[in-house]
Symmetry: C2
Subunit: 200 residues, 2 copies
């Protein structure tokens, strides 16, 4: 017999099913929900159902969107001919934060990962190839993460779109700005050396 | 202009309002919710509203309960004359886990903390004193955490119930000082229960 109400155990289970949330944390979160006012708890529950109900993928770039076409793709001040390919919407957020990029995006929703059973068919690669094949872009920037899966995905896409003759680039690798040489790992240093540019 | 749907930002805000969840984690959790099936997301939302709707405080011990009186208080095989006082329902869970204690509980829902503005009036101390004054118990085990606030609360309660002449004990320091009940292992909790001493 449990000493806690079953609806409470259910709530703990739900939190524990979230990524990075262990049993102890889930319990703490559930207790916090119980301590909320009815209104706060209700608006939390509503936020979950609302987000699920209203969010879909942009018909152009596959980023999360409330509209048929997302704000970036429908923004006329952005250059639709430069497409930055990221593995997930977090990549879009990261690049937008830099306030440097004036093109548009393509969100793959994952990276090719044979070990996890993620094949190219599970990603929005077909949609990307269609965009390129339509002659809609001049440059594809491959901005997947600089890890094995990201590299594999970038290489796979580069080979697929090669026949269309668009410029295909990859984000530069190197020492993070504001960081120090001594904290950079070997792979990063190797890439930083390889990618060195004229200094003047 | 945000690149993410507003309902998504709202969901991130809700997660970020939870204890121990930073902005980055909240974003990760929100992305996870979006990737859930509609059914899973709905049952998560329902778990929140159900828990809030169905859970109240036990009329006897103030622990979280779905019924007027909680399963522990209504269990005739438990000794209602030995009352273990804990600061929150997590304390009940922790002690129940040790399977050693056959008495009942009293949940304070907090500890006295002048710095956080928590006074004795904010806790279920009045209800505890009423239980003792009614002559309903032979022993009060003060099982608040062995930290400053827990000690302050234990001492405050001990002084309040002293006139009633019931045996007042404190959990033994099997629990590492400065730690919290919920992180104690079963063996430590068992030792702490066995070695409880007179408190004055």
């Amino acid at each position: 017999m449990s000493v806690l109400p079953s609806s409470f155990e259910t709530l703990i289970d739900k939190f524990a099913a979230l990524p990075g949330v262990g049993r102890k944390s889930a319990q703490r979160l559930a207790f916090f929900v119980i301590s909320m006012t009815d209104e706060t708890a209700q608006s939390f529950a509503d936020a979950i159902t609302d987000a699920k109900r209203t969010i879909r993928e942009c018909a152009v770039c596959c980023n999360l969107s409330e509209d048929e076409v997302c704000p970036v793709c429908s923004n006329t001040r952005r250059n639709p001919r430069i497409v930055c390919v990221v593995s997930d919407p977090k990549g879009v957020l990261a690049i937008e934060r830099a306030r440097e990029f004036g093109g548009v995006y393509h969100v793959l929703h994952g990276t090719i990962s044979p070990l996890s059973g993620v094949t190219p068919d599970d990603l929005r690669i077909r949609e990307l190839v269609a965009r390129v094949a339509d002659g809609g872009c001049d440059e594809v920037i491959l901005a997947t993460n600089p890890d094995t899966e990201g590299e594999t995905t970038a290489r796979y896409i580069a080979r697929l779109i090669e026949p269309f003759g668009v410029r295909t680039t990859r984000l530069a690798y190197g020492i993070p700005v504001g960081s120090s040489l001594e904290f950079a790992d070997d792979a990063t240093l190797t890439r930083a050396l390889e990618g060195r540019s004229e200094y003047n």
